[in-house]
């Protein structure tokens, strides 16, 4: 080769290393042929080497390292590990996939869109296609994703042995249970299935099959808080089963009586959306007026234009007095001529009512004149917890006013299985006691915790030989069971739901079950087949598809084949079709004239409400929700006895004192929270707390006030009269995220207004002068000596419409989930170290008896002149060219100076590594980290953090725009809080784009900046609240 090159120079250059090589010395040729010089490779014999030669050392090192690596690895035990070198279909690493599904956090079955990354769900949003919740989902629904990754989920079937559970298998569990079921049938004993609201038609079919196989099956259904009173009153008034849906968006006046339609009653997402449509500052003419008469302070009450604090048992008198005013005095409607009606009303009058309750006559007069002005647009809405009699009177009032036109005729609620009545439960318990119930199945329900104690349900369970609880985590009912069968989380389940006419909502799994859990419907079908081996992974999936193919699809009469229909239905998550609701009869006035007068209280009344954060207690083990400040009181991790300031004074108690509340012989000690605006002589308590078996996080949080529930009820099932309240020794510290400084102290009075934090007014003021909230003209502003930074291109800004914000806190949880906010625990919130980047500030003005409430979501204002930036010694917080105030976690050393200098105090500091600090590292366990958003850094201890305007979403959207080759626009980005807000109060976008919504809001006459006079130049605009008074 060398020769040929030498001879043919044109072939290429010949390189030579020495003259010997050039002259083709044989030694040189030989050396070239061997890779190593002579002597290097010849003597490689391990045995012949010195004890520790270099080669031997390397050989031993390699061997030992590979042995060590092989022996330490647990890979084989993890089963098949498939790397992403072959991309699974539909999954691109780094790109999120979204699947439509349905939330079952309560009985509203809202449509959700689940965001998954690399196959794991990381966020739950509302499904845009869903006609009810239209892309929004409440705080609880969003936080429920944490329950999927709860380390204390039951991982395999459990059998009780002694007093504790031990591992078992599905085969043995189902074998035993099926034979117990068969035994029950053959001995003619009852099989009781206790469930909450049944929402799924397919599940209903499964239960029909189950009941066909085991004829002694009886289904019992309950809901901790429900609208049974409203529905039964409706049946009496109009003859149909379901109270109609209401066109809130067409109302000019909403009179909510003890009704929390913006908080906990009905579909608050839909109701909030429809309500805020009437609170549009661009449409003052159609501004509604919300009048709330209530005993506790609810989310709805916070948003009232006029709020009357009224004893709950006076609601009946209030409605009757209003009826007297309209029917008898003003002769409104044909019923004025009805003798019986007039007789029923003769003892009532508004004057007497006002006098008895110490209510200003003028405000009532105003209400009445407004109502008579907008008669058929005035909806009166009584709350779930009021008794049937009040609902009947309210139905009549709406009939009289003609506001029945606001009842929606195109759609109605559907009830698949009626709630069991008190008689049903008593019957069940007596059958259990007499040994006539062989099997009790707690079908994802917790009756031991929920049912009033005086049914004696828990004790009766002792007489039942087979008790099976289907649940995700242990609960009070599972503790009383022989079998605890773990069921799938929503996000691992298939299902369909129908809560309204003309609408199906589908649920599809977005992740394979994490553990050996099964879908609860599949368990029932397995039992119905009488054979454990009937179960397979896709059992319920196929069952559901079958039913849809055979029953649903044909009725739709579609041109497409079933598969296309099914996949498009799964894709959308909802199927809308034409279905006429049953409608209702004409008004039955007898229901009103035969109305029994409800008894009224002399002593204290106890109002029991559903917890805003824990629901009926099912979210007790969810740290995010436990730590979500109560929308009104801002208390976290606790419930309490809320008292009005007057009542507290009468009882001689202050915050955190203990009181004993006693109703008949049922009593409980609770800490006091003094709530301005509550009615006198009322104790309001939230239920859902005091769980005794809710895992590490939820057990023992708050006080179990379910003890007050009685099967007989009192004023109603949730309002108890003649309670005794007394101060007892001891204290219990409640923790809030806002100090309760007194609002009537001269120095604190209206501080939110005097400091320019909150600006608000009435619609009259706004009509007279649209600029009425603007205190400073542009010319008055001080001139800066610094050159203004030019923001060319996009500049990010946000606007928050305080008219629309109801304080529901969905945004807070959305932010928590999106930005990997840790749970810190009560002890840390107590020392003001909560980590939420977004908080909703609540301010009182007026008097403690009749406070006005102003709300303000507070997050990093992304100031142009950010005070935090120039004090950071290490430049860990700096400004981006698109106007973001950025936080560089890597660079932060944790001086906390930025937080000290932030006038909004929106920065959050990692005082500990909170994931390890909370509850002995509860949320540091597997698989909780799976819930983290991989696009957001999990912050370590010692660094500062704050709202980033969801910078990860901005970057992602920008990247997409670049890839698609289009211009990046502000509207491409939706922040997590904006995405969640059911009122669409939050708008985000590019303020340099004059056509963007946000730049219009910045120019809006109602727009202002918090603490504007400091000159921080915030990029969050607040639109002042307008009150319709």
């Amino acid at each position: 080769m060398a020769d040929s090159n030498k001879e043919n120079p044109e072939k290429g250059q010949f390189y030579w290393k020495s003259l010997k090589e050039f002259h083709d010395d044989p030694a040189s040729a030989e050396a070239k042929a061997n890779e190593f010089m002579a002597g290097v490779t010849d003597d490689f014999k391990l045995s012949g080497m010195s004890d520790m030669s270099r080669r031997k050392f390397l050989a031993l090192l390699t061997a030992s390292a590979s042995f060590a690596a092989a022996s330490c690895s647990t890979y084989p035990s993890k089963g098949e590990v498939i790397p992403y070198n072959k991309e699974p279909r539909g999954v691109i690493p780094g790109i999120a996939n979204y699947y439509a599904s349905t939330c079952t956090g309560c009985n509203q079955a809202c449509g959700i869109l689940v965001k998954t990354r690399e196959g794991r769900p990381i966020k739950i949003n509302g499904n845009d296609e869903h006609p009810v919740n239209k892309g929004k989902i409440c705080a609880r629904g969003q936080a429920s994703i944490l329950n999927l990754y709860d380390p204390e989920r039951i991982r395999e079937p459990q059998k009780k042995s002694g007093s504790s559970f031990s591992k078992s298998s599905w085969a043995s569990a189902n074998g035993t249970i099926i034979s117990a079921l068969s035994a029950a049938v053959s001995s003619g004993k009852e099989i009781a299935v206790v469930m909450k609201t049944l929402l799924s038609p397919t599940a209903k079919k499964a239960f029909d099959e189950f009941a066909a196989k085991y004829p002694t099956v009886k289904l019992y259904s309950y809901e901790f808080f429900s609208n049974v009173n409203r529905n039964s009153a409706w049946k009496k008034s109009y003859g149909s089963e379901q109270f109609p849906l209401i066109s809130w968006d067409k109302a000019k006046l909403i009179l909510a009586l003890e009704a929390d339609f913006l908080g906990n009653e009905g579909n608050m997402i839909e109701q909030t959306r429809m309500f805020v449509e009437t609170r549009n500052n661009g449409d003052i003419k159609n501004f509604s007026r919300l009048v709330v008469a209530e005993s506790e302070v609810s989310i709805t009450g916070m948003n009232a234009d006029i709020r009357l604090s009224l004893h709950p048992e006076e609601q009946y008198n209030f409605v009757m007095s209003l009826l007297h005013e309209f029917v008898v005095k003003r002769q409104v409607s044909r019923f004025a001529l009805d003798r019986n009606v007039v007789n029923t009303l003769q003892d009532f009058s508004l004057e007497k009512f006002a006098e008895r309750n110490g209510i200003d006559q003028k405000s009532l007069k105003g209400l009445v004149s407004y109502m008579s002005k907008y008669k058929d647009s005035s909806i009166v809405y009584a709350g779930d917890r009021l008794p049937e009699s009040v609902h009947i009177a309210v139905n009549f009032l709406n009939e009289v006013l003609g506001s029945t036109r606001l009842y929606r005729e195109n759609q109605a609620n559907i009830e698949l299985l009626a709630y069991s009545t008190a008689q049903d439960w008593e019957g069940l318990v007596s059958k259990m006691m007499s040994g006539n119930v062989e099997v009790v199945i707690h079908y994802d329900s917790n009756p031991v915790y929920h049912l009033p104690e005086d049914y004696g349900y828990a004790a009766a369970l002792g007489k039942v030989s087979t008790i099976v609880t289907l649940a995700q985590t242990e609960n009070e009912s599972s503790a009383a069971s022989q079998w605890l069968l773990p069921i799938n989380h929503d996000l691992e389940s298939w299902n369909d739901f129908q809560t309204r006419t003309g609408l199906y909502s589908l649920q599809q799994p977005v992740i394979y079950p994490l553990y050996t859990t099964r879908q609860k419907e599949a368990i029932v079908i397995t039992w119905a087949s009488g054979n454990e081996s009937a179960y397979h992974d896709t059992l319920y999936h196929e069952y559901l598809m079958n039913r849809w193919q055979k029953e649903v699809y044909p009725s739709m009469k579609l041109a497409v084949d079933f598969k296309t229909f099914w996949y498009s239905a799964l894709h959308d998550g909802v199927v809308s079709f034409v279905e006429k609701p049953e409608g209702w009869d004409s008004y039955k006035v007898e229901s009103f004239t035969s109305l029994p007068t409800p008894s009224t209280s002399k002593g204290y009344s106890v109002v029991l409400a559903e917890s805003y954060v824990l629901g009926d207690g099912r979210f007790a083990s969810n740290g995010w929700l436990q730590e979500l400040p109560h929308p009104v009181t801002k208390v976290v991790w606790d419930n309490y006895a809320a008292l009005s300031p007057d009542t507290a004074k009468e009882l001689g108690v202050d915050y955190n004192d203990l009181v004993e509340v006693r109703i008949d012989n049922r009593k409980q000690k609770l800490p006091v929270f003094i709530q301005p605006g509550m009615a006198r002589k009322v104790v309001a308590i939230e239920l859902g707390y005091g769980r005794t078996n809710a895992g590490t996080v939820g057990t023992g949080i708050g006080v179990n006030a379910n003890v007050f529930l009685s099967k007989k009820g009192s004023f109603s099932q949730w309002i108890y009269s003649d309670a005794a309240v007394s101060k007892v020794n001891g204290k219990y510290e409640l923790v809030t995220t806002m100090e309760h400084y007194s609002i009537d102290n001269i120095f604190n009075k209206d501080i939110q207004f005097t400091r320019g934090i909150i600006r608000e007014g009435t619609i009259d003021e706004y009509e007279k002068d649209p600029n009425f909230i603007q205190v400073e003209r542009e010319a008055d502003k001080p001139v800066s000596i610094y050159k203004k930074f030019e923001y060319n291109g996009i500049k990010w800004a946000m606007s928050i419409d305080l008219n629309k914000c109801t304080g529901c806190s969905a945004c807070v949880i959305s932010c928590n989930v999106e930005n990997n906010i840790p749970v810190v625990g009560k002890d840390q919130v107590k020392v003001s170290r909560e980590m939420q980047w977004l908080r909703i500030d609540r301010y009182y003005s007026g008097t403690p008896v009749e406070p006005k409430i102003s709300l303000q979501p507070m997050l990093c204002q992304q100031c142009d002149n950010a005070t935090c930036e120039n004090v950071c010694p290490v430049a860990a917080t700096t400004h981006s060219p698109d106007g973001l105030n950025m936080m560089v976690y890597n660079r932060c050393v944790g001086t906390r100076y930025c937080s000290n200098n932030c006038p909004y105090k929106v920065r959050r500091f990692n005082f500990f590594n909170f994931r390890y600090h909370f509850d002995g590292g509860y949320y540091a366990q597997q698989p909780v980290e799976m819930v983290n958003n991989p696009e957001v850094t999990v912050r370590t201890r010692g660094v500062m953090e704050k709202c980033t305007f969801c910078v990860q979403r901005i970057v992602e959207a920008r990247q997409e725009a670049l890839q698609d080759g289009r211009k990046f626009k502000g509207s491409d980005v939706v922040t997590a809080c904006q995405e969640a807000c059911p009122a669409d109060a939050i708008i985000f976008g590019d303020m340099n784009d004059p056509n963007s919504d946000v730049s219009k809001m910045r120019e809006h006459p109602l727009g202002y900046y918090a603490l504007e006079e400091l000159g921080t130049k915030p990029n969050v605009t607040y639109l002042a609240k307008l009150r319709n008074i």
Binding site: T867, A875, Y897, F911
Partner: protein, 459 residues
Amino acid sequence: MEVVDYSKAPPLIEGNPTLGHIDDSIAVPMEKRPSKKYFAALSITLTMLLIGAVALGYTFYYGIGMWGNNIPVGWAFDITNFVFWIGIGHAGTLISAILFLFRQRWRTGIARFAEAMTIFAVMCAGLFPLIHLGRPWYAAFVFPYPNQHGIWINFNSPLVWDVFAVSTYFTVSLMFWYIGLIPDLASMRDRTTNKFKKAVYSVLSLGWRFSNKHWQHYEKTYVILAGLATPLVLSVHSIVSFDFAVSILPGWHTTIFPPYFVAGAIFSGFAMVMTVLIIVRKVFDLEYIITKKHLDKMAKIILVTSMMVAYAYLMEPFIAWYSGNAVDWFVVVSRATGHYAVGFWMMVACNVFIPQLFWFKKIRSSIPALFIISLLVNVGMWLERYIIIVTSLYRDFLPSAWHIYTPTIFDFGILIGSFGLFFTLVLLFSRTLPVISMSEVKGVVEGAHPTHHIGAEHE
């Protein structure tokens, strides 16, 4: 009645001791085996230091969360202690540099000790900016060192100014102290018979041979360093005050802060020097060098600075009222009436009312009274920083963010630890180096500067 001869300045050293006697008595602590009392004292201060170390260990392991700090009160004991110790460190340089330049020769008796205290106090102070960091292992980020990331520090931040101010102050004070020590170290070298000590003193005394040339160089260097150190006395605490004054926070954002802080620092520094010297002069029998007249003069300075501080206390509410800024006024009122009102009034009592007793000569010449009042001034000045920091933060602009601050045992542990460190260093210093400048004191004994010009003796 005592007849006072006004034609002659009173002697600075009492009893007209011989020069040898001065050397002997100052060197005694270094040459004798320490007594049991000394070890008892050392064991107490070391215990305090240990408490601080344990508290600090917990803080490093778990995080700043061990302290009471929260949001909004991001700073509390940490920066309070920092400002307090920096303040203590002020008297030393003031006494040694400024009084030196003003030819106040009475300073010679107390200068060395005050300077040492400065060094130790600044050491204590320097700890706090370090340990108050959320991630102290990245503390080096605050220095402008070149790095491959091209990241620079933020020179707009007062904390960066602090880093430079404090480190410069420490360096200059240390140099000044050391230069002043050289002649004494040489004396010690010559006196000692212990080989080890001899070696150490020899190295440290840099070959000092008491030659005329040496003295000339020494005097010049000393004057130059005094000149350098003098502006630092004013600058350090001014810059420390910028941490607050430059911010936007009502209660911090005040133009009076720099002079107010300097006056306060001198006030507390003199009080601390007085506290310690009263013990030292007694324990080491140096009452004839650190005379009652010294204490009297220091008391007068304390009185003057107390009134300067009082003026600042009055100015704060006045400006808050006069500016018409409601938030400022709110802070002023909430200081005096709010959750921390007890601390506020204790501060006013200790810093303003009690030092007024120094108007009376009887009080100024009563050692127990001086001792107690100087202690109270230190308590008051610690509280002053605490009040400034905590009461401004705990109720600032947004009522929604208000929150009370409560210290934890770890906060107190570290505070105790810092005192432990300070006094341990003081104790070790008193046994290893001359606590009083031998050479300078010898310069102020009667007849040290023979002159024909009567009255010029103490120039």
